[in-house]
Symmetry: C2
Subunit: 418 residues, 2 copies
Amino acid sequence: MPVPHVVILGGGFAGLSAARALRRAAVTVTIVDRRNHHLFQPLLYQVATAALNPGDIAYPIRSVLRHQANARTLLASADSIDLSLRKIVLADGELNYDFLIIATGATHSYFGKDWEKWAPGLKTIEDALEIRRRVLSAFEAAERELDPEKQRQLLTFVVVGGGPTGVELAGSLSEIGRLTVANDFRSFDPRSVRVVLIEGASRVLPPYSPSLSKKAKTALERLGVEVRTDSLVTAIDADGVCIGKEQILARTVLWAAGVSASPLGKLLGTPTDRSGRVLVAADLSIQGHTEVFVVGDLMNLQQGGQPIPGIAPVAIQSGRAAAKNILRRINGKQTLPFHYVDKGSLATIGRASAVGKVAGFELSGYLAWFLWWLVHIAFLVGFRNRLVVMLSWAWQYFAFSRGARLITGRGWEPGQPQ
Amino acid sequence: MPVPHVVILGGGFAGLSAARALRRAAVTVTIVDRRNHHLFQPLLYQVATAALNPGDIAYPIRSVLRHQANARTLLASADSIDLSLRKIVLADGELNYDFLIIATGATHSYFGKDWEKWAPGLKTIEDALEIRRRVLSAFEAAERELDPEKQRQLLTFVVVGGGPTGVELAGSLSEIGRLTVANDFRSFDPRSVRVVLIEGASRVLPPYSPSLSKKAKTALERLGVEVRTDSLVTAIDADGVCIGKEQILARTVLWAAGVSASPLGKLLGTPTDRSGRVLVAADLSIQGHTEVFVVGDLMNLQQGGQPIPGIAPVAIQSGRAAAKNILRRINGKQTLPFHYVDKGSLATIGRASAVGKVAGFELSGYLAWFLWWLVHIAFLVGFRNRLVVMLSWAWQYFAFSRGARLITGRGWEPGQPQ
């Protein structure tokens, strides 16, 4: 009998951890991704804010799996899945499987609004480079703007969404003006940069406790960020953002508010939630197909009456759990229910502050930031990356500089909506 | 009387060295560039071959000039120059000058052929990322190709042009297959990569002596590169390259053959050569306008009966000379003729070999490579870059790895002409 073929769709945290969990198993593994690289998404905001290079936080998937002899990597796009024939339809071929792990994650959602053009989100390297281009171009345009009102608009940055990504972006944007480019411009004071963080709920970082949210708000305000809670965005256009009847004039608006699951989830024909996430059984398999597992940001599973959040540790643990359940099934054993172990989480606010909960303890300030830094470095795939990221940060921390301040892609076009 | 206003078009080596030479002068300096960054072009091939990140070799122009109080940086595009009114017409405004230094350089030339689509050249960060995308995508496509002939075509890389850039690209491409990705693929042996370097003249690196050219050829062949001299390319298309009636089937063709001067040169109405370079007087000013200087790759000047080459040291020295002549003119002194001091030049061939001439001595092999490495590190703008580049290389050298192997930009599309 040939060894079972496990296909993993998606080379993010969930997919990679599933592949690695199968490294000693008598299976063949094929990991399929549209991109050639695994992306360390928790640090993507650092690329968007010009602190890190794309290559510092991304690594070829096939290099991660280089020494795993039973795994191969396919750069391909999965168009649909034929569950009855156990077959993936690729854009240019087909792929049969015995077991399938779907880990295609999520992207941003604008709740059906037409705002993406004016307020890009942050999910891919390209997103990050586009945000970097807009932010740096706004400073350049402000240098040449003679009308003080228009200059003010160019130097106003709005971040929509007060979750971890929004808080990280807002803190970094404020620091760019106050520290990084403080001496680079002649016709305005970059310290006059205005950064507004808008959150619909009553506090930032809603998953944390009210006291940590309050500490985060204080840290943001110390960095000069205006925090607007209980504020629902009603319009976004070339001129800025509206909160009800109030308009905030801003040329750069960033979106960190909603996520929506990968469209593959809805193609399975099994129940999904409002965001398109797939409702999975306790062992992470889907209804009617015990050989198909959904993990990471694409899965919807409750634990203790709460939905498990879409964060990296959940992706890693669920990918591993699905792989182990596949091995149990191959060996004729009962699958085990997935149980997420929350080791804690931290959200950073600028250069030397963070808040979070680790091993049951609430942390904030410098210590939390240092722990955040350690954890993220330790998790980065690949030694070289760890070293370069560490150096980049050390440099940035001590020199208030940012090493990746390039405007690439589209050149600068005058009078464009950026 | 207001202080004279010196406008510098172009933030490359020539423009930046001119600006720096004016740092203590009683003038105001405006440096205009379409891009926000200065690019260390001699290392651009390392970005194209995935060894360095864009941010390692590019640096914001305004940061370079941060502490030069008499200088400001303008991100803008110069459309034309009104020599009689001493005015630059920008895409979105105008700029008056008392003295003008034009340092807008050169781009690639396809000698009027329609080959750019199939054989991209290497001048900008975007060019380098496009080449990186094509090279890495060819490996990915080869992994999935079942037809051995098509797979062979995907694994064949042709570099047109045997000057320094072509030699560097060919050497690096061969190393990518033989060392970097050697264990990453399952359906072919990356060591079977075929790299062909095509040169029209009778030897590679024509500016060097015949014996150095021969050493370079031997070093390339040791790396597995097929060197084809006396070979004129007659066609380039989706299938590959033709040399007369011989066709080399290759999916990836890179262009390192011709350069053509920036179009601004022809707009001046003064004599230009066949490549569009501006014929300048001995003091680098142009005919009829002693307040306008042309420097770097855009200038055409003979020295000792030979045209001065379009390389970085010439750009740096000519930019500085033009700045000094402007100061002499302001102070009522005679301008001085420009004299290029050739301190030597080196071309690298792969991981540990180079050839060149330094202080009158011909060098080759490991020592030349080490010297090349020292010189390039020393010249890189910005301490942080130096450190990161040094580390990237040390890592790459000892681990045979490349840290920037990302396919970004366009995603992978099946069946595309790449």
